[in-house]
Amino acid sequence: MLTVNSIVVAYSAAPVLREVSLDVSAGEIVSLIGANGAGKTTLMKTLSGLLACIRGTITFGDRNLTTLSPAEIVRAGISQVPEGRRVFREMSVQENLEMGAYSRHHGADIAGELTEIFSIFPILRERRGQLAETLSGGEQQMLAIGRALMAKPKLLLLDEPSMGLAPKMVARIFEVIAEIRRRGTTVFLVEQNAAMALHYSDRAYVIETGRILMAGPSKDLAGNPRVAAAYLGKH
């Protein structure tokens, strides 16, 4: 479904992503784990078209995404929950969700998706009139996920959905991610919380200083001594 082929991405001088290749098939949950500054967010921004590749290609189905604008990529069926949630703080919960459907143009009938998202996150229905900045961190993460789902994506990108959340909330968010896949959306997520990411994903990649170091079924990687030592805190 998504194929990333040897992409190189840089901000100014030295490349941050060096010949990164990976693929995601329809129906999978695939995770990418890596330490601070490894280039995970850079990859996510490139997939959504916020950053351009110097070399390499990204294809989605039979479409080449490499030269598309962020708006065209959302319309092609990829939406993102950015790192740090990035809800529109001065907008209400409802307006944030409406912004998620922005790419579907106005007049689009969003009532169905709203109902579906409220069924996944009942708390958002209760808070729909409230400004997003008044929500707790976990509620904001739910809102950010709900907002991305409003675009009706085929592929959902999540950049560190567990960041800064209490363990209980982290578990809840991963349950929701599994639920989203069951409802038919493919998921590609980036995490520093390797234990949770490996537990909930089918396959995983390990990134270190801009290169893919390892790849394989998540179970195998979780059992790999190098991964265990570097990312699971086991020695």
């Binding site: 078209g49 604008s69 907008m91 922005y102 790419s103």
Partner: protein, 298 residues
């Protein structure tokens, strides 16, 4: 007392124009964190176009208002494409440098527009044609020129229209999202280049209507922008630079403050009011009345 009421009516009319200039500033500050120093010249163009459209072409006043707003909005969009976007693209990673370049580019544009106006309309002041009933409104000894009602009314309708545009339309929602967080707005599918064009277009159109309304109360001249820009900027600072509601509140407050000084002290001190308020606000409340003192925008 009569004098005070009469001055308050003037204050409301003038204040609504200050509010429009303040809005013109705040729209670009809010969306792009940039001050457009050509705002005064877009204002001046509005005054001249208003005169040309009513006197030469013979449009009714309200048609001239709409036509001026659209024409100067188009100039604002062209400005964004020619004088803003190339600099923005080339300096996207260097906000400090971009600020300086935008200041230069907007000041350059203002000089260009002033000279263009002098070439087209001449250097002398042009009076507004007599489109309003010369018989003022009279009520129990209060005398208010008819154009004051027009000026206040048109400004208020425009503010209402801006509010509907930003809150209720698809493009307006995209602009609000982009003003809060450009990158995330782009992730939602908002086209940032289009949003920036709209921002400059809307700002220019609002400023131009402000100029047209001032023209309707007095006359137009090529350097008229400078005087009103300082007032409008003061109004924007008073309400909170970058706040839409703040611009409106600041504009009316400044207009009323000036008119009360005229009524109770002396018209000699009229212009002192704005400068004094500007200094006081910059010193003690730089974020204005309506923005939180410490802004956290991440």
């Amino acid at each position: 007392m009569l004098e005070a009421i009469q001055q308050a009516a003037t204050g409301l009319a003038i204040g609504s124009v200050y509010a429009l200039v303040a809005l013109a500033f705040s729209v670009t500050v809010r969306a792009l964190n940039q001050i457009n120093f050509a705002t005064g010249e877009l204002f001046m163009l509005g005054a001249y176009l208003g005169i040309t459209l009513t006197a030469t072409i013979g449009f009714p006043f309200w048609v001239a208002v709409i036509a001026t707003a659209i024409a100067v909005s188009v100039i604002g969009v062209l400005f964004e494409k020619i004088a803003y976007r190339p600099l923005f693209r080339a300096n996207a990673g260097h906000p400090g440098r971009l600020h300086i370049l935008i200041i230069c580019s907007t000041i350059g544009t203002s000089i260009f527009l002033q000279n263009a106006a002098m070439l087209i309309w001449g250097a002398q002041a042009l009076p507004f044609p007599k489109v309003f009933d010369p018989e003022p409104f009279r009520f129990q000894g209060i005398v208010i020129p008819v154009e004051y009602f027009w000026v206040t009314g048109v400004a208020m309708v425009l503010m209402g229209a801006l509010n509907v545009f930003l809150q209720g339309t698809w493009i307006g929602k995209g602009l609000r999202a982009a003003a809060q967080d450009r990158e995330t707005a782009a992730l939602m599918g908002v086209s940032l280049p289009a949003a920036d064009s709209w921002t400059f277009g809307v700002s220019a159109g609002i400023g131009a209507v402000g100029g047209l309304l001032i023209g309707a109360m007095s006359f137009a001249y090529p350097t008229m922008g400078a005087a009103f820009v300082l007032k409008g900027f003061t109004a924007a600072i008073m309400g909170g630079l970058g706040s839409i509601r703040g611009a409106i509140v600041g504009g009316f407050l400044l207009g009323l403050a000036e008119s009360l000084v005229i009524a109770f002290i002396s018209s000699v001190y009229k212009d002192v009011v704005a400068f004094a308020l500007l200094l006081v606000f910059l010193q003690f409340r730089p974020t204005g009345l309506l923005l939180k003192p410490v802004q956290t925008r991440v």
